[in-house]
């Protein structure tokens, strides 16, 4: 498909602005290069973007069992209310008394999420999960420093963790200590006990973990860290499995981040904007980024935490994303929140039970909201890899599971159906998975060649990396 720069004609434009009604002023040292932007009519423009949108696959287009990403349905009422002019037309630096509704959105959402997670205070400034991790780790750093404990320079991360965990720890100035997982995919408690010491700043953990198992030793794990003088950080990527049922705060975690764009139904937008809200226990609240929203008298105001690490972003966060999460929280409420978690776990176990017939499970036990299959044996037998199965799914209108993650499982496919899919959808998807397994044995070449129905076939990533073409270079 042509690039937008290859369409239109010089001089073509939309009629957008009236003539300037004041004397025109020009800078003394003006731009000298031509401004190379598309020159199209409105009709051409909308056709171009319509064509692009037809080459995008969203949750609205079909089943999206992308492990660790919680691709649940994104309710339309969220979008409608977040688009109200009373939210979108508000300048972030308006006087506090003119933005009481915005402040209350933050205050209400904070109260609901604190209750769900067992935390005492929250910031919505982080724009995404990784940004939240960075923020949470800085809270840990500031806490130790404030106590005069400068020796705590290490963050413990299990080898099953998301790549953001170690990357965030390094950005926050820590060194990373990797601890191995046990045969059940959970933290090896003995290895953990051996790894902690006076240099332990904290532990980062996802629970349920990245193989979809709730770590039954969680209380012992957080106790080991606390006894060593460290703090416990909860990566909220998998909260959807347990929200309303178990609280990270009760597991012994001191600071958490949530992905409102996963667990709380705000859309991913093709990779953002998200919201990586960070919650913490009361003793860490003085370190939160400022400003935070506080209730005062009958209204709300901004306040600066006493020992704040400083802001991690301009203004207050991805505000309209938070509006969407609030709409979701108010809709589901006390019963709906745990109901969602229960059905996420039910759906995952159902799919696992059906697929177990053919596919090898990396951890063959009941799972939480997601499960990991290992296609190592299938690949050995037939040459068909996890990648091939994933590409075969594309030809069947299904977004593939997360591939090759976690790193501790070979030929991994991580499946997370979410609670918003019906049994019929799950059954259809299972049929497709099982059919592809058969096809791997009868016609492996067809799967090596997949996909064939998509706008392009498999793309050469090596070429892209070796000879980077990162912008349109002109006709």
């Amino acid at each position: 498909m042509q690039l937008i720069f290859e369409k239109g004609a010089p001089g073509r434009h939309l009629s957008l602005l009236p003539p300037c009604d004041v004397p025109e002023v020009a800078p003394q040292r003006p731009r000298t290069e031509p401004l190379e932007l598309p020159e199209l009519s409105e009709n051409e423009l909308t056709r171009h973007y319509s064509a692009l949108c037809k080459r995008v696959h969203g949750v609205n287009d079909g089943f999206y069992p992308l492990g660790s990403c919680t691709m649940k349905y994104n309710p339309k009422i969220n979008e409608e209310l977040a688009a109200l002019p009373g939210f979108t037309q508000v300048h972030p630096l308006q006087p506090e008394e003119t933005v009481q509704g915005c402040l209350e959105v933050y205050a209400q959402t904070e109260a609901l999420l604190n209750e769900i997670t067992g935390m005492d205070a929250m910031t919505f400034q982080p724009a995404a999960g990784a940004h939240g991790e960075f923020t949470g780790l800085l809270l840990i750093k500031a806490y130790h420093r404030h106590r005069g404990d400068t020796e705590r320079t290490k963050i413990i991360v299990p080898d099953s963790a998301h790549g953001t965990n170690p990357a965030s720890a390094v950005m926050a100035g820590f060194t990373v200590v990797n601890v191995p997982s046990g045969p059940d995919g959970c933290v090896d408690v003995e290895a953990l006990a051996a790894a902690v010491g006076p240099d332990t700043a904290g532990l980062m953990l996802t629970n349920p973990n990245t193989v979809g198992i709730f770590d039954k030793n969680i209380l012992e794990i957080t106790r080991i860290i606390h006894e060593a003088g460290g703090l416990c950080y909860y990566d909220g990527a998998n909260l959807n499995a347990v929200m309303g049922l178990v609280r990270p705060g009760d597991m012994g975690f001191d600071v958490i981040h949530l992905n409102l764009h996963k667990t709380f139904s705000t859309p991913h937008g093709g990779g953002g904007p998200g919201s990586g809200a960070v919650g913490c226990k009361a003793f860490l609240a003085p370190y939160l980024p400022g400003p935070v929203v506080r209730r005062e008298g009958g209204g709300f105001r901004f306040a600066a935490p006493e020992h704040s690490i400083g802001r991690v972003k301009d203004f207050y966060g991805n505000f309209t994303v938070v509006v969407k999460a609030l709409v979701y929280l108010l809709t589901l409420g006390k019963e709906g929140i745990p109901e969602a978690a229960e059905n996420a776990v039910l759906n995952a176990n159902y799919m696992m039970a059906r697929l177990r017939e053919k596919y090898a499970m990396a951890y063959d036990q009941l799972c939480m909201h997601e499960f990991v299959m290992s296609l190592e044996n299938l690949k050995e037998e037939t040459g068909v890899s996890a990648m091939d199965i994933a590409k075969g799914l594309l030809d069947n209108g299904i977004h593939p599971p997360t591939m090759y993650f976690p790193l501790i499982v070979h030929e991994a496919l991580m499946v997370e159906p979410t609670e918003t899919e019906s049994k019929e959808t799950l059954d259809e998807a299972c049929e497709v998975f099982l059919r592809l397994w058969e096809q791997a044995h009868t016609d492996p070449q067809a799967l090596h060649d997949a996909p064939v129905t998509t706008p392009v076939r498999r793309l050469d990533e090596v070429e892209a990396a070796r000879h980077p073409v990162l912008r349109y270079a002109g006709a």
Binding site: R31, F319, L329, L366, R457, P468
Partner: protein
């Protein structure tokens, strides 16, 4: 209560049977009993769509929406063509994940490739990434790009947006880079101070253009000072101003960053916005975050993929150049649609009209006793002295006008192409009444 769970009780029962357990509780057997909250959560009961609509609309109504906005300071209300929202509200786009599965994500990947090209065109730089969270984090990430073993000090103009500076400080608290402010002199970066401050350990200097006070800096001359000291030159620029001001590339910038909100994004109480980041060829491998590249498919057809991923956290883990994962993809898409709709003529008009209206406002305010406190050129923001700041802003507020932002020394005003001469005249006459 509201629910998005489609399965009926009988379907759930059938599923439990397939799994081989009796109840849903059995699925949670691995969770220690004592940890379950049971009925203990203090949450309100769920509500119907109509009830939620009422409750949240009431919150929106408690905010004041001004007819006229004369305040910027990092967030700007510009004209947004109707076509922008029509395109970016398409649900396949809104509900898609990051385009890891390239074959079914060509639309998104191509749009980001086009966005990258437009950012390169605006800034004159060689390579753009696919966006970061906002202008502040873009500036903070740029400092890290410049660090090496011998050079770990980041110098930042005191005339940069204070929020951006604070964000950079927080990132430096993480990375251990030292941040040093280069002082202001009469509303602009003190070039003599800059020259004497930059030493052999200077990694970079960050200049905001136009600066926080709206003043246009001598960016090319400053670039020469920075490069003379062997440091990297980062420019934080307003993307609309790029249409008429000397480009960062022409000023010698190694990295150009900025807040992309003026490119078709609503004010939205501060977010979501997007940070754009572009660099020279020499530095592009240090860019954080996602980058889209062109390639070919198995049949030789042109296509797009996320590329150069060896920089990124999911491959490199603790050795990654940044932890960024999700960025602001939909906002970058929006900026691309905005720039395509405006085109070179429209964007230049938006820039020229913003600058011209700000100058008109400055002149009219000057006539009634609110003179600019700085000399020299400015773009679409400027600071005036004001004897009665509070009374002036209150009077404007009562007339549906958001006046400039109170800052040290007076008021920081802003005008864009969105305000008419009539609105400006009205604002000035209201101010005159108060004085």
């Amino acid at each position: 209560m509201g629910s998005y769970v489609p399965n009926t009780p009988s379907q759930r029962q059938a599923m439990l049977e397939t799994i081989g357990v009796r109840t849903v509780e059995d699925l949670f057997a691995s969770v220690p009993r004592e940890m379950l909250v049971g009925d203990g959560l203090k949450l309100p009961v769920g509500r119907s769509e109509l009830e939620v609509r009422r409750a949240v609309s009431a919150l929106a109504e408690r905010n004041k929406v001004y007819r006229t906005v004369l305040r910027g300071a990092g967030a700007y209300r510009h004209f947004i063509p109707a076509v922008v929202k029509s395109v970016v509200s398409r649900e396949e786009l809104v509900t898609a994940y990051t385009p890891y599965q390239a074959e079914i994500s060509q639309g998104l990947l191509q749009a980001i490739f086009e966005y990258q090209t437009m950012i390169c065109s605006l800034t004159g730089m060689d390579v753009s990434n696919a966006s970061v969270y906002d202008g502040g984090t873009a500036a903070a990430e740029a400092l890290t790009m410049c660090r090496d073993r011998k050079r770990a000090k980041a110098y930042v103009s005191a005339c940069a947006d204070p929020q951006v500076v604070e964000t950079m400080r927080t990132y430096c608290f993480g990375s251990g880079m030292e941040l040093i402010l280069v002082p202001e002199k009469e509303g602009r970066t003190d070039q003599e101070a800059l020259r004497s401050l930059l030493g052999e350990d200077a990694a970079c200097f960050y200049l905001q253009q136009p600066n926080y006070y709206g003043n246009i800096e001598e960016a090319a001359a400053i670039g020469e000072i920075v490069h003379g000291a062997g440091a990297k030159y980062i420019m934080g620029v307003n993307p609309i101003a790029c249409a008429v001001l000397e480009s960062p590339a022409a000023c010698g910038a190694d990295i150009a960053v900025g807040e992309g909100q003026p490119l078709g994004l609503d004010l939205s109480f501060g977010g979501p916005y997007l940070g754009f980041m572009a660099a020279t060829k020499a530095m592009f491998r240090k860019l954080p975050g996602r980058i889209v590249g062109q390639t070919h498919d198995a049949e030789g057809k042109v296509g797009y993929v996320l590329t150069l991923t060896a920089r990124e956290q999911h491959i490199r883990r603790e050795k990654a150049s940044s932890n960024i994962c999700s960025n602001q993809a939909l906002c970058a898409f929006t900026a691309g649609v905005y720039l395509s709709a405006m085109g070179p003529q429209g964007l230049r008009q938006a820039a020229v009209q913003s600058m011209s209206k700000a100058h008109y406002l400055a002149e009219e305010l000057g006539k009634i006793g609110l003179p600019r406190i700085h000399g020299g050129e400015f773009f679409h923001e400027f600071v005036t002295a004001c004897p009665k700041t509070e009374a002036v802003l209150r009077a404007l507020d009562e007339n549906g006008i958001l006046g400039g932002l109170p800052v040290e020394g007076g008021i920081l005003w802003c005008a864009t192409e969105l305000v008419s001469r009539q609105e400006l005249d009205r604002a000035v006459s209201i101010v005159k009444e108060v004085l």
